[in-house]
């Protein structure tokens, strides 16, 4: 692939596209943004494959790029929201109604409200807590994989998840009391 072999790149995309897409979708909760982030991930893989030092597994390197792309999208979204607050005539509002928000197809109708509340609370977590919680608890990745992706030790990831849970409790209470 480092020699620019297209079939090799295609094979790589086919191998990882679904998992990359599902990872970024869990972070972004928006299928269009997730498709964009997944495409941008593979474009960066294609453009910087020569920089891959083979110190970690190729899949870990790809997920690291994907997570970075998802975070970039989240930051851009936050900037657009701030701009909308300052210049509402220039920046259209992106706020979606409860019904219009994305929800994983597996979630039962009676649990929709809980799922919306949970994902809104996850969205408001600090970046590192959001990544650790999403990858372990939402995506179901192993601690080893997440440690590799986040380049952190097991204890650090555990601590991030425990802080994320504390913050989620507070945010959910606030959500139901408002």
């Amino acid at each position: 692939m480092k020699q620019g072999d297209e079939p090799a790149f295609r094979w790589l995309v086919e191998q990882h596209r679904n998992r990359v897409y599902y990872s970024v979708l869990n972070m972004l909760q928006d299928p269009d943004e997730a498709e964009d982030a997944a495409q941008e991930t593979f474009i960066q893989v294609y453009e910087s494959i020569h920089a891959f030092k083979e110190e970690s597994m190729l899949s870990t390197w790809i997920y690291r790029i994907a997570i970075r792309k998802a975070l970039e999208k989240i930051r851009k979204k936050k900037t657009r929201k701030r701009l909308h607050a300052i210049l509402p005539w220039w920046m259209p509002d992106e706020k979606k109604s409860e019904e219009a928000r994305y929800l994983n197809p597996g979630i039962k109708a009676e649990d929709k409200e809980k799922a919306h509340a949970l994902f809104m609370a996850i969205e408001a977590l600090p970046d590192n807590q959001k990544i650790a919680f999403t990858l372990v608890k939402v995506q179901g990745m192993s601690y080893d994989e997440v440690c590799e992706i986040m380049q952190l030790g097991v204890k650090a990831v555990e601590s991030l998840i425990s802080r994320a849970k504390e913050n989620l409790k507070k945010k959910l209470n606030k959500h139901y009391n408002s």
Partner: protein
């Protein structure tokens, strides 16, 4: 009235076990290839600085421009009268014949 109880975090997290793994469709690679070609052909036209910097620079230029214009106007207002302006303001410009 009975207050509605708030579900615990564990109850919320049970929802996560219902989630199904979602993937992209089979045309993902075709769309990616198209985007990759567009990216490589557009690379020569990439803006060398971030749009935020361009906007900030423009805003600063506009502010400086506004300040300079205001200063010029102030100077004009406080500038001493010329003889012609003095004569004009006291209506001394009409030629009268005796």
């Amino acid at each position: 009235m009975k207050k509605k109880s708030i579900p615990s975090l564990d109850e919320h997290m049970q929802v996560l076990s219902q989630m199904q793994e979602v993937g992209t469709d089979e045309f993902f690679y075709t769309r990616l290839k198209g985007k990759l070609q567009n990216t490589s052909s557009a690379q020569g036209w990439v803006l060398p600085v971030k749009p935020a910097w361009v906007l900030a620079t423009l805003l600063i230029l506009l502010l400086v421009n506004g300040y300079v214009l205001k200063q010029e106007q102030k100077e004009k207002e406080t500038a001493p009268y010329t003889i012609q302006e003095f004569a004009k303001s006291y209506d001394q410009t009409i030629n009268t014949t005796y």
